[in-house]
Amino acid sequence: MKTTTRLLAVLAGTTLLTQAAAAQELNALVWCDHTDDALIKPFEDKFGVKVNLKEYEGTGAALSLIEQSQPGDWDVLVVDGIDVPRVVSAGILGPLPVGDLPYDSLFPEMVMEENHVIDGQTYAISEKFGYNTVSFNSAAVSAEDLSDMTALWSDNAPGSMAVYDYYVPVMGMVAMGLGIPTADITLDDLPAIEAALMKLKDNASSVGEVVSSQTAIATGEVDILFGGGEWVTAGLTGDLPDLDWLIPEQGAVRWSQSIGVFADSKQPDLAVEFVKHVLSPQGQAALATSSCYWAMPANRMAGAMMTDEQKAALRWDQQVDYLNKADLYPTPDADLDAAMQDVWTRFLAH
């Protein structure tokens, strides 16, 4: 009995210690592209703090992590641009000091006021964006074969294929392919989308997350990655020049990620400094070319910090055209979201 009490005391002690230590640390809940030293180290050195990073995939995962934490545990959140209103309404994010942030140098499409500004308060800022579209191996498939997206769920798919395992963008893409703008998806559209998805699954050899998708296309396991884009291919083109990506004629889905500060952060000033660091041209360049995945920085000024090869891999100069062709991520309400997830579960189990 005594042993247990003592052990519990020890455990409690450890917890207290870790919490006390947290005073000099910044806790950020991020995507995997924020973990490179190139991005984090300069900030740590400048402010003499330790940045603790917890990676997650998907807003749901972030929400469960936050729910399973104590208030004040977190300082910085990186989240899907379209999910900012959702987390703001859940009271998770606090307002940002707009004047300190480089709004003026963002790509105009990345300001996204409808997402980031709620009741006149700005809660987050875009930091990185890209496209969920079609990646392919140009040695095996020609770009013409892929210009019509619907071919991928027809009876004769142009090549072996993998599908990226995230329901929002992939279902958004399929909707685009069916002629439904992502903003207009309703419950009534789901049967048609589901039917196309099932055909897609029949044609696909696997459905996987970032790295398994990357692996599949990089190793020649598949020739086409549905839902891929520059974030899959750009980092690999140095080794595999045949890897390419395009936006089909029906269009594609644009994703963006935003960064904000927790409402209950114990060190909001430091957290804001971190946001500023990530949005600075240096931070943006490092983020754009992170080892986990590459994608366009939200801050146009980052271009000055990047090499020509890097910019070429990201198609820096074609962004205007691409931004025109791509719809924003779908923003389903709770009911539609649940229904979409059910469709996706059926898709996975198919």
Partner: protein, 256 residues
């Protein structure tokens, strides 16, 4: 002769199956290129060097060791004490208690991890390596209990009785008589426990926050970029463990 040939063939085939992934893993950890897939492009130690230079991985390795040793020590202690209680033959409802103590053995780690996650959340306990250790103690205590219970037999009972008769206190009986007598079992329980904790992923994944154990770090490595570094970690971990296991094996053999 036929029989010998059949046995040898079967052993060769099965050992081939067992070693196939490990061999491939090790081979491509020396791949001199970005992709850990055939063809083998030449020999390079680059990925091994990268692993050894990766502070996060090294930290995770140390975390894993810490969690494994701390949780196993606790699990062995709990299991040993409970096994002794059952062995006295005086424990009321000994059968029910034994069943309760071994119950976690048949529960999936995922379920144990989820349950603890929800409970810690409810208790307001934030996650850390300590919570991972708690989970590992839950899964390893039944194992240690079972191993110790099997080792405590009539020989220990009578030796304990003799020690008590000669005036030893309960604590000293345990420390001077029972524990040394079943030392091999205690050691085996501890090592098995360390192995399980060392290798455990899902509980560590669910119950950790910033400081993570090696399997969790490897998991995120796996999802953050395709390269032979994962192979290198795997082979290094393998070599490290194999050396440790061999060392223990040799040490016990010499003592015999």
């Amino acid at each position: 002769m036929m029989r010998f040939a059949a046995c040898a063939t079967y052993m060769a085939l099965l050992y081939g199956f067992i070693f196939l992934p490990v061999g491939v893993l090790a081979l491509f950890s020396f791949q001199d290129g970005r992709f850990p897939i055939p063809p083998f492009q030449g020999f390079s130690l680059r990925w091994h060097a990268e692993v050894l230079g990766d502070a996060d991985l090294i930290a995770a390795l140390l975390n894993s060791l810490m969690v494994a040793f701390a949780s196993s020590a606790m699990a062995v202690t709990l299991g040993f004490l409970a096994a002794r209680a059952v062995a006295t033959g005086r424990l009321p409802r000994a059968k029910a208690i034994s069943a309760a103590l071994t119950a976690p053995l048949s529960v999936s780690y995922l379920v144990i991890g989820l349950g603890l996650l929800a409970s810690f959340n409810l208790m307001g306990q934030s996650l850390s390596l300590a919570t991972v250790a708690v989970g590992h103690i839950v899964i390893n205590t039944p194992l240690c209990f079972a191993i110790c219970a099997a080792a405590i037999g009539p020989a220990q009972q009578s030796a304990e009785r003799a020690a008590r008769d000669l005036g030893a206190s309960e604590l000293r009986v345990m420390w001077l008589v029972t524990a040394p007598m079943i030392l091999p079992a205690l050691l085996a329980a501890f090592l098995l426990s360390v192995t399980f904790s060392w290798d455990e992923f899902i509980i560590a994944f669910l119950l950790s926050r910033f400081d993570v154990t090696l399997p969790v770090e490897i998991w995120s490595l796996l999802r953050s970029g395709l390269n032979p570094k994962t192979n290198a970690v795997g082979s290094l971990v393998f070599m490290l463990s194999a050396i440790a296991v061999l060392g223990v094996e040799l040490a016990t053999m010499r003592r015999k």
